[in-house]
Symmetry: D2
């Protein structure tokens, strides 16, 4: 399928380009960015910050403005747009009949837009039918969650199914790549911890609740657990770490019952063999010093969820840490997995 990238020069856009190299199904045919970049070759418009070379054929592509007319030949677009412009542009593409697989936050909480993590809530793709961007249903939007809600929902999902989430207290230790480029000034973070990330904490509860919702007669039925989050920035490069303590509706007898719930969880999309799926979705580390962002974030193509420190807790029921690559599993890679699911299911066509 022919693919366009909106916001192609930004950090998420660059990650889309990197991850789509040699993709078996999707080929990049158009790149969109702001007026300032439009008309330039990509290599001149973008400050490439990935640690693999910029592919030559992408380097020489001319960047377009983010208007549907410039993307007439694509089958769908990935959006890495900034939230300040995503509402208008993504809406315009959907209305023009071009499906949008978006990493932006703007449509995430819209009732008719799936907020999708394929291993967590694949059935939510049915919501697309209720979208009204076009009369014939050809244009629609699917989103992926915030880079904390992704690993959190992957970790909570098997536990919620078995025990029912009642309360969550968490602290995040987030990598600098989460702020894009130029992002976090080095003077702010070298040898430091910043105990606040603007706009981050309020997204975590509602997105996680929407992800764990049940779809009943076309309506989402969300679990209403309490969640208290503190989001901090630390000097790691990739991989957001979450330290969580959780209370369940049904208390596990012991930690083995909790491990059993995680290990016996069945990945609902396993049999689809999607190209970006990790072979093992949840890696549960037994070594107390693991997982670590620098050692584990890139494993299985950056698409694996890493859990560790799983133990019964003095307060509530259990504590654990969870970690995933924030710009792959938590952003561009998650969006690509969404597109792969939608393609395999015949919705992208």
């Amino acid at each position: 399928m022919k693919v366009g990238i909106l916001g192609a020069t930004g950090a998420v856009g660059q990650k889309f380009i990197r991850l789509l190299q040699n993709h078996p199904w999707f080929e990049i045919c158009a790149l969109g960015a702001s007026e300032r970049s439009a008309g330039k070759r990509y290599k001149q418009a973008a400050n490439w910050v990935e640690d693999v070379p910029l592919p030559n054929h992408i380097a020489e592509m001319t960047v377009a403005t983010c208007e549907p007319s410039a993307f007439s030949e694509v089958d769908f677009v990935f959006s890495g747009l900034d939230s300040s412009v995503a509402t208008a542009i993504e809406g315009a593409f959907a209305r023009a009949g071009i499906p949008v697989i978006s990493n932006a936050k703007n449509y995430r909480m819209d009732n008719s837009v799936p907020l999708l993590v394929p291993e967590v809530n694949p059935e939510h793709i049915a919501l697309i039918q209720s979208q009204s961007f076009t009369e014939d249903g050809s244009g629609w939007i699917v989103t992926n969650p915030n880079c904390v809600a992704v690993p959190l929902s992957l970790a909570l999902n098997p536990l919620h199914k078995e025990f029912g989430i009642e309360t969550v207290v968490l602290t995040t230790m987030q990598a600098v790549s989460g702020a894009g480029y130029p992002g976090v000034p080095s003077l702010d973070i070298l040898g430091n911890v910043v105990p606040f990330i603007s706009g981050e904490e309020p997204k975590i509860a509602p997105e996680t609740q929407k992800l764990l919702a049940t779809l009943n007669n076309g309506e989402l039925d969300e679990p209403h657990f309490a969640l208290q989050a503190t989001a901090t920035r630390v000097p790691s490069i990739n991989g957001h770490m979450i330290s969580a303590t959780v209370k369940f509706k049904r208390t596990p007898k012991n930690i083995n019952e909790v491990k059993e719930a995680i290990q016996s969880w069945e990945n609902p999309i396993a049999e689809l063999n999607l190209p970006s799926s990790p072979s093992e979705v949840i890696k549960l580390h037994e070594e107390e010093r693991y997982p670590q962002p620098r050692l584990h974030a890139d494993q299985e193509g950056g698409m694996q969820l890493h859990m560790g420190r799983l133990r019964m807790a003095e307060v509530f029921d259990i504590s654990f840490v969870a970690m995933a690559h924030n710009t792959i599993r938590g952003a561009a890679g998650g969006a690509i997995l969404n597109a792969e699911l939608l393609y395999k299911k015949g919705i992208l066509k």
Copy 2:
């Protein structure tokens, strides 16, 4: 007063030497370390890692073994000993009639040994009378808490007095200096987060409860709140950050009542004007991005407690972050403040 340092070549020992430079009351007269260092000049025995020059007269002092006979001229000793040897050596000094102000963990939970933070529980020094190291009471031990329990108790103390602590969930982000020297290998922590610190988590609840205990008829009456801690290591140099969510026995009406409890708290040792006391014990930051280890850990000589992000929580009552310099307020500086209190109260004499 003439002072000896036990464990003088280690990271805590070096910090004692640094902080006692130009101290108005205490003068270093003897340095003790392991057999390997004994007999050498201090500058040859120690790998000085402080960012101020090693004072010349200390550099030329000869290091002794940690035996009371080598410390006959001192009035008391500070101990920065490793826990593998502290039980025997500190006990021997106390039995020899030499008071020990210790940073080691070994005697912290002993019923007759004060675990002391002068602004939190100065009255606990009365426990010294129940010690039996010597018949005449000339030898005794006072300890300071773990480097997490120090800032935690300073932060919880005014809140406990006003609202009563019932439950605490916390995650720490701890600086590498907490592991001493050589301590954390750079390959483990550069651009990384390690979600475990050996032996750290189990100390936090009991030490904090002992610190907040009431002394009734010579016995400690401890509050028995539940506390769940996850201790992580991050690539900061000095300053342990704590992210905490707390439930009280009495729920505050709003965040202002909580701020009021902190701001109206009266430092019980304020009028003593101890040399190492910060002018403002608790600095409550209003800027959401503060406190930060690199910006604030060294303020007020590294003896200040920094709080921030204070807010009502979705779970329990409130959330906040607290941070203090781990090797000054949380170790050597805290021990020196303890000695200053004991001197002013006439117990060190």
Copy 3:
């Protein structure tokens, strides 16, 4: 004396404010910044990044635009202006009869403007007489050098006097604070080395040659040695490290003769006892692992030059490393020392 700060909200401006706290001679009375900041209180206009608290009376001062009319009450100004505006603004202040002690590069290579490091070329202040900003000589400009030329000239000065510099090959490892705030993105420098700093290398040779020039009949007679520099950025916070290999006109017999030249060098301003002077201008480290930015950059108030690794070389004559705090000795602190010299000499009055 009453002092104004131009560019007061930037990184260098903040350092001026910090260093002038409790200065015995100079008091800050006016703060100037861009249109965007003008009219605001300083605490609202500036993103304070220093690791000491912003002084209250500065926090409440109203920021003015950088026009001489807004600075009528000051005796002189320090300039931390960006080079894009410094030519016009500094010139306007000088023409208005307000002396300018500038850290900007714009006037550094002007024949009538002293490029001043007080311990290196104090006699260059005589150049002020040849300036023509005002008829009565009341307005003039004095500059301090680039943050690499400062430590380089301090290190080369005693060697040049004894042996004559003929050739220098150097590589710098520069701290992130040299790029100001927000400056270097953390994604560019965490765990990395960037082998280029825009505009840095071409300043080093001409500024160092001007600093080492002899003043003959009011004209500078510059030494014309060859210098090849590679400037790199590394993930340190403060303190630029220089690795240099040098050929002299007269080859030293051995390394002791070189050390002797450094140790017997007499600081020409020693007897002035300027408040910002370090007690020991050049600290020559014997330990091979020293100097280090994190351990030594802040010593003696950040005004000391640190040399180390001094040895005879296989190529040319000697190799050494030199390091100084780039935003104190290499910027704001150097400018303040310049002002102190000019005040003591009766030129600032």
Copy 4:
């Protein structure tokens, strides 16, 4: 071929294990380490620090002592031994008829031992014939150079062939992985630069001269250029950066002639298509901010040499920076490439 690893639990040993996973020609059959590890399963003996999972079949292998009798089934061994034991152990293996491909420094400067970088001096493998470890020639030793000499020789080789090296002045900025594990304490290097690496500088000139030597009638004819090196440690993880200024016997007309010499250089082993060969041996970056360790060290499997900042110099002829992955190209990966060359040439059989 069946392969053993000596020093299998150390940092270099772990890298051998990682890089030999899925190798088309070599299979690991035996692991050797110190007495302390011998008899344990590898997963218990080693503290695995690689950022890919430890392969299961390796994890379960039993570690042997480093004696030839325990390696009777292997065709040859890779050695990542510490230099304190490598002389005796490697010699014993060679005498036992087991070829040794070593990363240790001990035999590097032996006249009959090839110090080998396949793209630089493949013809040096003929030296093996002059070794006398065994009568039948079945046991011998081949070494790879120090992790600075590797990228330096790769960069200088085409220049030496065209212009003749006369003098080199260089400064290195070396990554922490070069010191192994636990290696550099984080307190020494976080936010810091250490201007000395013990034992590093003296290796660079002799190893580089041996690598660039011509083999005449079985004797090495070494170029005798002067080289002055300063080796520093910086807080990067992988990738040693070299900043070099070079004088040639024949001065290039301009920088294009230098580029031409690099670009027209022919890789003497290109046609062998060795599995670990990079497709492009020397990547010459045109962007001034490149190469960077974090962005480029892993490219082409960590086996590529990256050059940049190539320019005519004020002193000597040219300056440039060169960078390569220190533990892959500069250690284990280089040794594996050596083995591949020796296998393809029929010497390993």
